[in-house]
């Protein structure tokens, strides 16, 4: 899951070297904290959160396959 977020985020941003993902496991769910360069925030959120929504959709599909619940948080 963590690697998937990294791949997705790094492909979208201008500063892939600043992409950081932290994985926090809680019982049946995984929280993924995504950090990017301040000027790359728009590239992972998008207008009206459209990009963030797509990222979450793709993650959810991968999580369903592994039978876990996953939450993506984009950190300031």
């Amino acid at each position: 899951m963590k690697e998937l977020v990294e791949i997705l985020a790094k492909s979208l941003v201008d500063h892939p070297e600043n992409v950081e993902v932290r994985e926090i496991k809680k019982d049946q769910s995984i929280v993924l904290e995504l950090r990017v360069s301040p000027d790359d925030m728009g590239k992972v959120i998008g207008k009206q959160g459209r990009i963030a929504k797509s990222l979450r959709t793709v993650l959810k599909a991968a999580a369903t396959k592994e039978n876990v619940k996953v939450v993506l948080e984009i950190m300031q």
């Binding site: 997705l8 492909s11 590239k43 459209r50 929504k53 797509s54 959709t57 793709v58 396959k65």
Partner: protein, 209 residues
């Protein structure tokens, strides 16, 4: 391949000028130094400016798209091959393999998300917009058929019950199919309401005058 020849006091300055002219970034170009600058004698006689030729590299967006998708599928643990068709600025990718259902998702939302993200990746450094369509197992065509039938069915219902029907949220592409299907219907008309991404089509009875 687009290219320009520029001059400057230093090689870097000449390249910067070229980038400005080509509206490109440093990693999108290849450079060839035609003349090395020299200050000449006393900085006056025989002074030569730097001269460079700068080429814009072919945008290998097909490769970019396929690489991106391959990485995703790898993490999904899904084996899929990408069949690519490129017509001018339209890139259509058909995915083939088992387990395609997981990539389609409910009402195609996963496929749409993958398509949207791929389009962003492909268009990140391109000058001209490339339209990306990703399909698998003929999903897009089948979905279109389903929507056309749904539109016709609901139009009849509106006519029968004399009551408008609000559809569930759809993306612009799917809404267009509903609108187009009922465009020439004599009994009902359609419009959209709400904000993206929850915009919905409404089918309502035409006022008879």
């Amino acid at each position: 391949m687009r290219s320009v020849v520029t001059e400057g006091n230093s090689i870097e300055e000449a390249i910067d000028k070229a980038l400005l002219e080509l509206k490109a970034t440093r990693n999108q170009v290849e450079t060839k130094v035609l003349e090395i600058p020299s200050r000449g004698i006393m900085g006056i006689f025989g002074a030569k400016k730097a001269k460079v030729e700068v080429f814009v590299k072919e945008e290998d967006f097909v490769e970019k798209a396929v690489n991106f998708l391959k990485q995703i599928f790898d993490k999904f643990g899904v084996e899929a091959t990408c069949k690519v068709k490129l017509e001018q600025r339209n890139l259509s990718i058909t995915l083939e393999g088992e387990d395609m259902g997981i990539l389609i998702g409910r009402r195609g939302q996963t496929l749409d998300a993958i398509q949207y993200l791929t389009s962003l990746v492909v268009n990140k450094d391109t000058q001209e917009y490339v339209r990306v369509v990703i399909d698998t197992e003929n999903y897009r065509e089948k979905r279109e058929q389903t929507l056309v039938e749904l539109a016709k069915k609901l139009a009849k219902k509106v006519e029968r019950n004399k009551e408008k029907v609000v559809l569930e949220p759809m993306n612009p592409y799917e809404r267009r199919i509903i609108h187009a299907t009922l465009q020439n219907n004599s009994k009902v008309y359609t419009y959209s309401e709400g904000e993206e991404p929850f915009r919905k089509v409404v089918i309502d009875l035409k006022k008879t005058s």
